[in-house]
Symmetry: C2
Subunit: 253 residues, 2 copies
Protein backbone atom coordinates (compact mmCIF):
# COMPACT_ATOMS: atom_id res chain seq x y z
CA UNK A 1 0.00 0.00 0.00
CA UNK A 2 3.00 2.32 -0.21
CA UNK A 3 5.35 3.53 -2.85
CA UNK A 4 8.81 5.17 -2.86
CA UNK A 5 9.15 8.61 -4.37
CA UNK A 6 12.01 11.06 -4.57
CA UNK A 7 11.28 14.23 -2.63
CA UNK A 8 12.98 17.42 -1.58
CA UNK A 9 12.63 18.06 2.12
CA UNK A 10 12.93 21.81 2.45
CA UNK A 11 13.86 23.22 5.84
CA UNK A 12 14.84 26.65 6.99
CA UNK A 13 18.52 26.40 6.14
CA UNK A 14 18.88 23.46 3.80
CA UNK A 15 17.01 21.19 1.48
CA UNK A 16 17.59 17.47 1.33
CA UNK A 17 16.97 15.16 -1.60
CA UNK A 18 15.68 11.82 -0.30
CA UNK A 19 13.39 8.86 -0.91
CA UNK A 20 10.12 8.98 0.98
CA UNK A 21 7.03 6.81 1.17
CA UNK A 22 3.61 7.85 -0.04
CA UNK A 23 0.36 5.94 -0.11
CA UNK A 24 -0.28 4.07 -3.34
CA UNK A 25 -3.41 4.80 -5.29
CA UNK A 26 -4.79 2.08 -7.52
CA UNK A 27 -7.56 2.13 -10.09
CA UNK A 28 -9.89 -0.90 -9.93
CA UNK A 29 -12.69 -1.37 -12.43
CA UNK A 30 -15.59 -3.59 -11.36
CA UNK A 31 -17.24 -5.52 -14.16
CA UNK A 32 -20.55 -6.97 -13.04
CA UNK A 33 -22.13 -9.63 -15.24
CA UNK A 34 -19.99 -8.52 -18.19
CA UNK A 35 -20.93 -4.86 -17.83
CA UNK A 36 -18.62 -2.18 -16.51
CA UNK A 37 -20.09 -0.97 -13.23
CA UNK A 38 -17.64 1.44 -11.61
CA UNK A 39 -13.98 2.38 -11.28
CA UNK A 40 -12.80 2.80 -7.70
CA UNK A 41 -9.61 4.65 -6.72
CA UNK A 42 -8.28 2.69 -3.77
CA UNK A 43 -5.29 1.16 -2.00
CA UNK A 44 -4.03 -1.91 -3.90
CA UNK A 45 -4.80 -4.57 -1.28
CA UNK A 46 -7.84 -6.73 -0.51
CA UNK A 47 -9.33 -6.01 -3.91
CA UNK A 48 -11.76 -8.95 -3.89
CA UNK A 49 -13.05 -7.79 -0.54
CA UNK A 50 -13.47 -4.27 -1.86
CA UNK A 51 -15.43 -5.49 -4.86
CA UNK A 52 -17.74 -7.64 -2.78
CA UNK A 53 -18.17 -5.01 -0.09
CA UNK A 54 -19.02 -2.43 -2.70
CA UNK A 55 -21.75 -4.65 -4.12
CA UNK A 56 -23.10 -5.22 -0.62
CA UNK A 57 -23.08 -1.51 0.24
CA UNK A 58 -24.83 -0.64 -3.00
CA UNK A 59 -27.45 -3.29 -2.37
CA UNK A 60 -26.49 -5.14 -5.55
CA UNK A 61 -26.00 -8.35 -3.60
CA UNK A 62 -27.23 -9.36 -0.17
CA UNK A 63 -24.92 -12.27 0.56
CA UNK A 64 -22.23 -14.66 -0.66
CA UNK A 65 -24.78 -17.10 -2.06
CA UNK A 66 -25.63 -14.63 -4.82
CA UNK A 67 -22.06 -14.54 -6.14
CA UNK A 68 -21.45 -17.13 -8.85
CA UNK A 69 -17.83 -16.30 -9.69
CA UNK A 70 -15.23 -13.65 -9.03
CA UNK A 71 -12.08 -13.15 -11.09
CA UNK A 72 -9.44 -10.58 -10.20
CA UNK A 73 -6.94 -9.48 -12.85
CA UNK A 74 -4.74 -7.17 -10.87
CA UNK A 75 -2.43 -6.25 -13.76
CA UNK A 76 -5.33 -5.02 -15.81
CA UNK A 77 -6.90 -3.38 -12.79
CA UNK A 78 -10.17 -5.25 -13.19
CA UNK A 79 -12.31 -7.54 -11.12
CA UNK A 80 -15.10 -9.47 -12.83
CA UNK A 81 -18.06 -10.67 -10.85
CA UNK A 82 -20.94 -12.78 -12.01
CA UNK A 83 -24.02 -12.99 -9.82
CA UNK A 84 -26.94 -15.39 -9.92
CA UNK A 85 -29.68 -12.82 -9.77
CA UNK A 86 -28.10 -10.71 -12.56
CA UNK A 87 -29.22 -7.43 -11.08
CA UNK A 88 -29.70 -4.70 -13.61
CA UNK A 89 -27.12 -2.15 -12.55
CA UNK A 90 -25.93 0.60 -14.81
CA UNK A 91 -22.58 2.27 -14.84
CA UNK A 92 -21.74 4.36 -11.81
CA UNK A 93 -18.66 6.03 -13.27
CA UNK A 94 -15.48 6.61 -11.35
CA UNK A 95 -15.51 6.90 -7.57
CA UNK A 96 -12.46 8.43 -6.04
CA UNK A 97 -11.02 7.78 -2.62
CA UNK A 98 -12.15 11.19 -1.50
CA UNK A 99 -15.36 11.80 -3.33
CA UNK A 100 -14.13 11.98 -6.89
CA UNK A 101 -16.67 12.07 -9.58
CA UNK A 102 -15.55 10.74 -12.86
CA UNK A 103 -12.77 13.09 -13.85
CA UNK A 104 -10.08 10.48 -13.59
CA UNK A 105 -10.26 8.49 -16.81
CA UNK A 106 -10.23 11.64 -18.90
CA UNK A 107 -6.82 12.83 -17.78
CA UNK A 108 -5.38 11.90 -21.15
CA UNK A 109 -6.99 15.04 -22.46
CA UNK A 110 -5.55 17.35 -19.81
CA UNK A 111 -2.57 19.32 -21.06
CA UNK A 112 0.49 20.34 -19.05
CA UNK A 113 0.16 23.66 -17.25
CA UNK A 114 2.09 26.29 -19.18
CA UNK A 115 2.30 29.05 -16.56
CA UNK A 116 5.82 30.22 -15.77
CA UNK A 117 4.91 31.06 -12.17
CA UNK A 118 7.71 30.93 -9.61
CA UNK A 119 7.50 31.38 -5.86
CA UNK A 120 9.89 31.00 -2.95
CA UNK A 121 9.65 28.24 -0.32
CA UNK A 122 8.96 30.93 2.28
CA UNK A 123 6.03 32.26 0.26
CA UNK A 124 4.60 28.74 0.03
CA UNK A 125 4.87 28.25 3.80
CA UNK A 126 3.30 31.63 4.48
CA UNK A 127 0.27 30.71 2.32
CA UNK A 128 -0.12 27.43 4.18
CA UNK A 129 -0.06 29.43 7.43
CA UNK A 130 -2.71 31.83 6.17
CA UNK A 131 -4.97 28.93 5.22
CA UNK A 132 -4.52 27.42 8.66
CA UNK A 133 -5.39 30.73 10.31
CA UNK A 134 -8.61 31.06 8.31
CA UNK A 135 -9.75 27.55 9.25
CA UNK A 136 -11.13 27.87 12.77
CA UNK A 137 -10.61 25.24 15.42
CA UNK A 138 -14.21 24.06 15.03
CA UNK A 139 -13.72 23.36 11.37
CA UNK A 140 -10.58 21.36 11.94
CA UNK A 141 -12.04 19.17 14.70
CA UNK A 142 -15.31 18.71 12.83
CA UNK A 143 -13.43 17.52 9.76
CA UNK A 144 -14.40 20.47 7.57
CA UNK A 145 -11.94 20.97 4.71
CA UNK A 146 -10.73 24.24 3.30
CA UNK A 147 -9.29 25.32 -0.03
CA UNK A 148 -7.99 28.71 -1.11
CA UNK A 149 -6.82 30.22 -4.36
CA UNK A 150 -3.88 32.51 -3.62
CA UNK A 151 -1.41 34.72 -5.37
CA UNK A 152 2.18 34.70 -4.12
CA UNK A 153 1.28 36.84 -1.13
CA UNK A 154 -2.24 36.22 0.01
CA UNK A 155 -5.50 34.30 -0.19
CA UNK A 156 -7.81 35.55 -2.93
CA UNK A 157 -10.73 33.12 -2.54
CA UNK A 158 -11.31 30.95 0.53
CA UNK A 159 -13.97 28.22 0.78
CA UNK A 160 -14.75 25.30 3.02
CA UNK A 161 -16.92 22.21 2.98
CA UNK A 162 -17.33 18.82 4.65
CA UNK A 163 -16.08 17.39 1.35
CA UNK A 164 -12.58 18.15 0.03
CA UNK A 165 -13.79 18.12 -3.55
CA UNK A 166 -16.65 20.44 -2.72
CA UNK A 167 -14.28 22.96 -1.11
CA UNK A 168 -12.16 22.96 -4.26
CA UNK A 169 -15.18 23.23 -6.56
CA UNK A 170 -16.54 26.14 -4.49
CA UNK A 171 -13.28 28.00 -5.01
CA UNK A 172 -13.46 27.50 -8.76
CA UNK A 173 -17.15 28.45 -8.80
CA UNK A 174 -16.40 31.69 -6.96
CA UNK A 175 -13.56 32.46 -9.38
CA UNK A 176 -15.98 32.02 -12.25
CA UNK A 177 -18.57 34.32 -10.61
CA UNK A 178 -15.98 36.99 -9.82
CA UNK A 179 -14.00 36.64 -13.01
CA UNK A 180 -10.86 35.74 -11.05
CA UNK A 181 -8.29 34.01 -13.25
CA UNK A 182 -6.81 30.76 -11.95
CA UNK A 183 -4.06 30.65 -14.57
CA UNK A 184 -1.21 31.89 -12.38
CA UNK A 185 -2.87 30.91 -9.12
CA UNK A 186 -1.66 28.84 -6.20
CA UNK A 187 -4.06 26.40 -4.56
CA UNK A 188 -3.64 25.89 -0.82
CA UNK A 189 -5.60 23.00 0.67
CA UNK A 190 -6.13 21.41 4.05
CA UNK A 191 -6.43 17.79 2.99
CA UNK A 192 -4.65 14.95 1.33
CA UNK A 193 -3.93 15.30 -2.39
CA UNK A 194 -5.18 12.45 -4.53
CA UNK A 195 -4.98 12.10 -8.30
CA UNK A 196 -8.42 13.60 -8.70
CA UNK A 197 -7.56 16.79 -6.82
CA UNK A 198 -4.50 17.12 -9.00
CA UNK A 199 -6.52 16.73 -12.18
CA UNK A 200 -9.09 19.29 -11.08
CA UNK A 201 -6.38 21.81 -10.40
CA UNK A 202 -4.67 21.01 -13.73
CA UNK A 203 -7.93 21.49 -15.59
CA UNK A 204 -8.17 25.03 -14.22
CA UNK A 205 -4.50 25.63 -15.22
CA UNK A 206 -3.30 26.18 -11.62
CA UNK A 207 0.50 25.64 -11.54
CA UNK A 208 1.08 25.17 -7.79
CA UNK A 209 -0.69 23.10 -5.13
CA UNK A 210 0.21 23.27 -1.44
CA UNK A 211 -1.16 21.09 1.36
CA UNK A 212 -0.48 20.47 5.02
CA UNK A 213 -1.12 16.78 4.33
CA UNK A 214 0.33 14.04 2.09
CA UNK A 215 -0.14 13.31 -1.62
CA UNK A 216 -0.67 9.86 -3.11
CA UNK A 217 1.84 8.32 -5.52
CA UNK A 218 -0.50 8.90 -8.46
CA UNK A 219 -0.86 12.57 -7.60
CA UNK A 220 2.92 12.88 -7.60
CA UNK A 221 3.20 11.18 -11.01
CA UNK A 222 0.53 13.39 -12.51
CA UNK A 223 2.02 16.57 -11.07
CA UNK A 224 5.36 15.70 -12.69
CA UNK A 225 3.72 14.99 -16.01
CA UNK A 226 1.56 18.12 -15.94
CA UNK A 227 4.20 20.62 -14.82
CA UNK A 228 2.58 21.37 -11.49
CA UNK A 229 4.57 22.12 -8.34
CA UNK A 230 3.26 19.77 -5.64
CA UNK A 231 4.07 20.65 -2.03
CA UNK A 232 2.96 18.53 0.92
CA UNK A 233 3.35 18.65 4.70
CA UNK A 234 3.77 22.44 4.54
CA UNK A 235 3.81 23.09 8.28
CA UNK A 236 5.74 25.59 10.33
CA UNK A 237 9.08 26.03 8.61
CA UNK A 238 9.27 22.80 6.69
CA UNK A 239 7.70 21.21 3.67
CA UNK A 240 8.14 18.38 1.19
CA UNK A 241 8.39 19.19 -2.50
CA UNK A 242 7.22 16.25 -4.61
CA UNK A 243 7.17 17.77 -8.08
CA UNK A 244 7.92 20.96 -9.99
CA UNK A 245 10.81 22.07 -7.78
CA UNK A 246 11.93 24.48 -10.50
CA UNK A 247 8.99 26.70 -9.67
CA UNK A 248 10.58 27.13 -6.24
CA UNK A 249 14.09 27.55 -7.64
CA UNK A 250 15.02 24.04 -6.50
CA UNK A 251 16.33 21.11 -8.48
CA UNK A 252 16.00 17.36 -7.96
CA UNK A 253 12.27 16.84 -8.28
CA UNK B 1 -22.24 25.33 8.45
CA UNK B 2 -22.82 24.01 11.95
CA UNK B 3 -25.69 22.59 13.91
CA UNK B 4 -26.43 22.11 17.62
CA UNK B 5 -26.97 18.58 18.88
CA UNK B 6 -27.46 17.13 22.33
CA UNK B 7 -24.60 14.87 23.32
CA UNK B 8 -23.36 12.91 26.31
CA UNK B 9 -19.73 13.66 27.07
CA UNK B 10 -18.52 10.55 28.83
CA UNK B 11 -15.41 10.84 30.97
CA UNK B 12 -13.77 8.51 33.42
CA UNK B 13 -15.88 9.44 36.43
CA UNK B 14 -18.91 11.24 35.11
CA UNK B 15 -20.96 11.86 32.04
CA UNK B 16 -22.33 15.26 31.13
CA UNK B 17 -25.37 16.02 29.03
CA UNK B 18 -24.68 19.08 26.90
CA UNK B 19 -25.25 20.84 23.59
CA UNK B 20 -22.41 20.56 21.13
CA UNK B 21 -21.76 21.69 17.58
CA UNK B 22 -21.38 19.37 14.63
CA UNK B 23 -20.84 20.13 10.97
CA UNK B 24 -24.05 20.38 8.95
CA UNK B 25 -24.51 18.12 5.98
CA UNK B 26 -26.78 19.32 3.19
CA UNK B 27 -28.11 17.54 0.14
CA UNK B 28 -27.99 19.64 -3.04
CA UNK B 29 -29.41 18.35 -6.32
CA UNK B 30 -28.05 19.92 -9.50
CA UNK B 31 -30.52 20.12 -12.36
CA UNK B 32 -28.76 20.93 -15.62
CA UNK B 33 -30.92 22.02 -18.54
CA UNK B 34 -34.01 20.50 -16.88
CA UNK B 35 -32.35 17.14 -16.27
CA UNK B 36 -31.24 15.90 -12.86
CA UNK B 37 -27.45 15.65 -12.98
CA UNK B 38 -26.18 14.80 -9.52
CA UNK B 39 -26.88 15.09 -5.79
CA UNK B 40 -23.96 16.39 -3.74
CA UNK B 41 -23.69 16.01 0.03
CA UNK B 42 -22.04 19.22 1.18
CA UNK B 43 -21.90 22.07 3.69
CA UNK B 44 -24.89 24.42 3.22
CA UNK B 45 -23.01 27.55 2.12
CA UNK B 46 -21.85 28.90 -1.25
CA UNK B 47 -24.17 26.58 -3.09
CA UNK B 48 -24.16 28.52 -6.37
CA UNK B 49 -20.36 28.40 -6.32
CA UNK B 50 -20.45 24.67 -5.67
CA UNK B 51 -22.81 24.09 -8.58
CA UNK B 52 -20.72 26.14 -10.99
CA UNK B 53 -17.44 24.71 -9.77
CA UNK B 54 -18.79 21.20 -10.15
CA UNK B 55 -19.73 21.88 -13.76
CA UNK B 56 -16.25 23.33 -14.38
CA UNK B 57 -14.49 20.36 -12.77
CA UNK B 58 -16.54 17.90 -14.75
CA UNK B 59 -15.80 19.75 -17.95
CA UNK B 60 -19.50 20.47 -18.54
CA UNK B 61 -18.79 24.17 -18.84
CA UNK B 62 -15.57 26.01 -19.53
CA UNK B 63 -16.50 29.52 -18.40
CA UNK B 64 -19.18 31.91 -17.17
CA UNK B 65 -20.21 32.84 -20.69
CA UNK B 66 -21.73 29.38 -21.16
CA UNK B 67 -24.14 29.79 -18.22
CA UNK B 68 -27.48 31.21 -19.28
CA UNK B 69 -29.25 31.17 -15.93
CA UNK B 70 -28.85 29.80 -12.42
CA UNK B 71 -31.65 29.44 -9.90
CA UNK B 72 -31.05 28.22 -6.34
CA UNK B 73 -33.98 26.95 -4.31
CA UNK B 74 -32.35 26.25 -1.01
CA UNK B 75 -35.48 24.99 0.75
CA UNK B 76 -35.99 22.33 -1.85
CA UNK B 77 -32.28 21.58 -1.96
CA UNK B 78 -32.01 22.17 -5.68
CA UNK B 79 -30.06 24.40 -7.99
CA UNK B 80 -31.15 24.68 -11.62
CA UNK B 81 -28.68 25.70 -14.27
CA UNK B 82 -29.31 26.34 -17.92
CA UNK B 83 -26.34 26.50 -20.27
CA UNK B 84 -26.08 27.77 -23.79
CA UNK B 85 -24.28 24.81 -25.27
CA UNK B 86 -26.73 22.32 -23.66
CA UNK B 87 -24.10 19.68 -23.10
CA UNK B 88 -25.49 16.18 -23.08
CA UNK B 89 -24.74 15.03 -19.57
CA UNK B 90 -26.40 12.06 -18.00
CA UNK B 91 -27.17 11.50 -14.36
CA UNK B 92 -24.15 11.01 -12.11
CA UNK B 93 -26.09 9.83 -9.07
CA UNK B 94 -25.31 10.89 -5.54
CA UNK B 95 -21.82 12.05 -4.60
CA UNK B 96 -21.07 12.13 -0.92
CA UNK B 97 -18.71 14.39 0.92
CA UNK B 98 -16.34 11.50 1.44
CA UNK B 99 -16.71 9.35 -1.62
CA UNK B 100 -20.31 8.22 -1.26
CA UNK B 101 -21.82 6.44 -4.15
CA UNK B 102 -25.52 6.66 -4.41
CA UNK B 103 -26.70 4.99 -1.24
CA UNK B 104 -28.10 8.12 0.28
CA UNK B 105 -31.46 8.65 -1.37
CA UNK B 106 -32.48 5.08 -0.69
CA UNK B 107 -32.32 5.37 3.09
CA UNK B 108 -36.11 5.31 3.29
CA UNK B 109 -35.85 1.59 2.72
CA UNK B 110 -33.34 0.96 5.49
CA UNK B 111 -34.94 -0.44 8.62
CA UNK B 112 -33.90 0.29 12.21
CA UNK B 113 -31.27 -2.06 13.57
CA UNK B 114 -32.93 -4.57 15.86
CA UNK B 115 -29.90 -5.98 17.70
CA UNK B 116 -30.09 -5.74 21.49
CA UNK B 117 -26.30 -5.39 21.81
CA UNK B 118 -25.02 -3.52 24.86
CA UNK B 119 -21.45 -2.55 25.69
CA UNK B 120 -19.76 -0.46 28.37
CA UNK B 121 -18.10 2.90 27.71
CA UNK B 122 -14.77 1.32 28.69
CA UNK B 123 -15.22 -1.43 26.11
CA UNK B 124 -15.88 1.21 23.45
CA UNK B 125 -12.73 3.15 24.35
CA UNK B 126 -10.66 -0.03 24.38
CA UNK B 127 -11.79 -0.87 20.82
CA UNK B 128 -10.88 2.63 19.65
CA UNK B 129 -7.46 2.12 21.23
CA UNK B 130 -7.00 -1.21 19.47
CA UNK B 131 -7.88 0.38 16.12
CA UNK B 132 -5.36 3.13 16.76
CA UNK B 133 -2.67 0.59 17.60
CA UNK B 134 -3.27 -1.35 14.39
CA UNK B 135 -2.97 1.79 12.26
CA UNK B 136 0.75 2.45 11.95
CA UNK B 137 2.23 5.92 12.04
CA UNK B 138 2.77 5.82 8.26
CA UNK B 139 -0.88 5.20 7.60
CA UNK B 140 -2.01 8.06 9.80
CA UNK B 141 0.38 10.61 8.28
CA UNK B 142 -0.29 9.39 4.75
CA UNK B 143 -4.01 9.82 5.28
CA UNK B 144 -4.84 6.13 5.02
CA UNK B 145 -8.11 5.28 6.76
CA UNK B 146 -8.90 2.19 8.76
CA UNK B 147 -12.08 0.36 9.70
CA UNK B 148 -12.57 -2.68 11.89
CA UNK B 149 -15.46 -4.92 12.75
CA UNK B 150 -15.20 -5.86 16.42
CA UNK B 151 -17.01 -7.79 19.07
CA UNK B 152 -17.13 -6.30 22.59
CA UNK B 153 -13.56 -7.30 23.26
CA UNK B 154 -11.49 -7.30 20.13
CA UNK B 155 -11.06 -6.59 16.44
CA UNK B 156 -12.38 -9.37 14.21
CA UNK B 157 -11.68 -7.87 10.77
CA UNK B 158 -9.33 -4.94 10.12
CA UNK B 159 -8.95 -3.17 6.76
CA UNK B 160 -7.46 0.04 5.48
CA UNK B 161 -7.61 2.15 2.36
CA UNK B 162 -6.90 5.66 1.11
CA UNK B 163 -10.70 6.02 0.94
CA UNK B 164 -12.88 5.85 4.04
CA UNK B 165 -15.66 4.17 2.12
CA UNK B 166 -13.30 1.64 0.63
CA UNK B 167 -11.97 0.67 4.07
CA UNK B 168 -15.53 0.05 5.25
CA UNK B 169 -16.48 -1.88 2.12
CA UNK B 170 -13.36 -4.04 2.46
CA UNK B 171 -14.42 -5.00 5.98
CA UNK B 172 -17.87 -6.01 4.75
CA UNK B 173 -16.38 -7.88 1.81
CA UNK B 174 -14.08 -9.84 4.12
CA UNK B 175 -17.02 -10.64 6.41
CA UNK B 176 -18.88 -12.02 3.40
CA UNK B 177 -15.88 -14.15 2.34
CA UNK B 178 -15.34 -15.49 5.85
CA UNK B 179 -18.99 -15.83 6.77
CA UNK B 180 -18.55 -13.44 9.69
CA UNK B 181 -21.89 -12.03 10.82
CA UNK B 182 -22.13 -8.26 11.23
CA UNK B 183 -25.45 -8.38 13.06
CA UNK B 184 -24.15 -7.87 16.61
CA UNK B 185 -20.93 -6.24 15.49
CA UNK B 186 -19.29 -2.99 16.46
CA UNK B 187 -17.67 -0.86 13.74
CA UNK B 188 -14.59 1.13 14.79
CA UNK B 189 -13.37 3.71 12.29
CA UNK B 190 -10.61 6.25 11.98
CA UNK B 191 -12.44 8.95 10.09
CA UNK B 192 -15.34 11.35 10.24
CA UNK B 193 -18.82 9.80 10.16
CA UNK B 194 -21.10 11.18 7.46
CA UNK B 195 -24.65 10.12 6.65
CA UNK B 196 -23.39 7.69 4.04
CA UNK B 197 -21.13 5.81 6.45
CA UNK B 198 -24.07 5.54 8.83
CA UNK B 199 -26.31 4.13 6.14
CA UNK B 200 -23.73 1.57 5.06
CA UNK B 201 -23.36 0.35 8.59
CA UNK B 202 -27.15 0.28 9.05
CA UNK B 203 -27.57 -1.75 5.88
CA UNK B 204 -25.27 -4.44 7.31
CA UNK B 205 -27.27 -4.31 10.60
CA UNK B 206 -24.31 -3.12 12.72
CA UNK B 207 -25.69 -1.59 15.94
CA UNK B 208 -22.66 0.43 17.16
CA UNK B 209 -20.26 2.76 15.39
CA UNK B 210 -17.21 4.27 17.09
CA UNK B 211 -14.82 6.87 15.70
CA UNK B 212 -11.94 9.01 16.91
CA UNK B 213 -13.36 11.82 14.78
CA UNK B 214 -16.62 13.78 14.53
CA UNK B 215 -19.98 12.90 12.99
CA UNK B 216 -22.11 15.25 10.86
CA UNK B 217 -25.56 16.39 11.98
CA UNK B 218 -27.22 14.13 9.42
CA UNK B 219 -25.29 11.09 10.67
CA UNK B 220 -26.53 11.87 14.20
CA UNK B 221 -30.17 12.16 13.03
CA UNK B 222 -29.98 8.90 11.11
CA UNK B 223 -28.31 7.04 14.00
CA UNK B 224 -31.16 8.13 16.28
CA UNK B 225 -33.79 7.05 13.78
CA UNK B 226 -32.10 3.72 13.04
CA UNK B 227 -31.32 2.65 16.63
CA UNK B 228 -27.56 2.80 16.22
CA UNK B 229 -25.21 3.88 19.01
CA UNK B 230 -23.00 6.62 17.56
CA UNK B 231 -19.80 7.42 19.45
CA UNK B 232 -17.36 10.12 18.32
CA UNK B 233 -14.06 11.53 19.58
CA UNK B 234 -13.29 8.24 21.35
CA UNK B 235 -9.78 9.10 22.50
CA UNK B 236 -7.92 8.21 25.63
CA UNK B 237 -10.50 8.07 28.41
CA UNK B 238 -13.17 10.27 26.91
CA UNK B 239 -15.78 10.10 24.21
CA UNK B 240 -18.93 11.78 22.96
CA UNK B 241 -22.10 9.74 22.65
CA UNK B 242 -24.41 11.22 20.01
CA UNK B 243 -27.09 8.55 19.75
CA UNK B 244 -28.17 5.21 21.19
CA UNK B 245 -26.87 5.89 24.70
CA UNK B 246 -29.06 3.03 25.99
CA UNK B 247 -26.67 0.56 24.38
CA UNK B 248 -24.02 1.91 26.79
CA UNK B 249 -26.38 1.98 29.78
CA UNK B 250 -26.65 5.77 29.54
CA UNK B 251 -29.69 7.99 29.13
CA UNK B 252 -30.16 11.39 27.53
CA UNK B 253 -29.28 10.70 23.89
Amino acid sequence: VRSQVRILRVGERESLLLEDQVAREFSLTLILNDRELVTLLCSPADLEQLALGYLLSEGLIEGAEEVERLSLEKRRGTVRIWTKGRPSAFSQGVIGSGGGRGLWPTFEGIKPVTSELHLTPMEALELSRQLQRRSEAFRATAGVHSAALCDRERILVFKEDIGRHNALDKVFGECLLKGTSTVDGIMAMSGRISSEMLLKVARRRVPVIISRAAPTDLAVKLARRLGIALIGFARGRRMNVYAGGWRLGLSGV
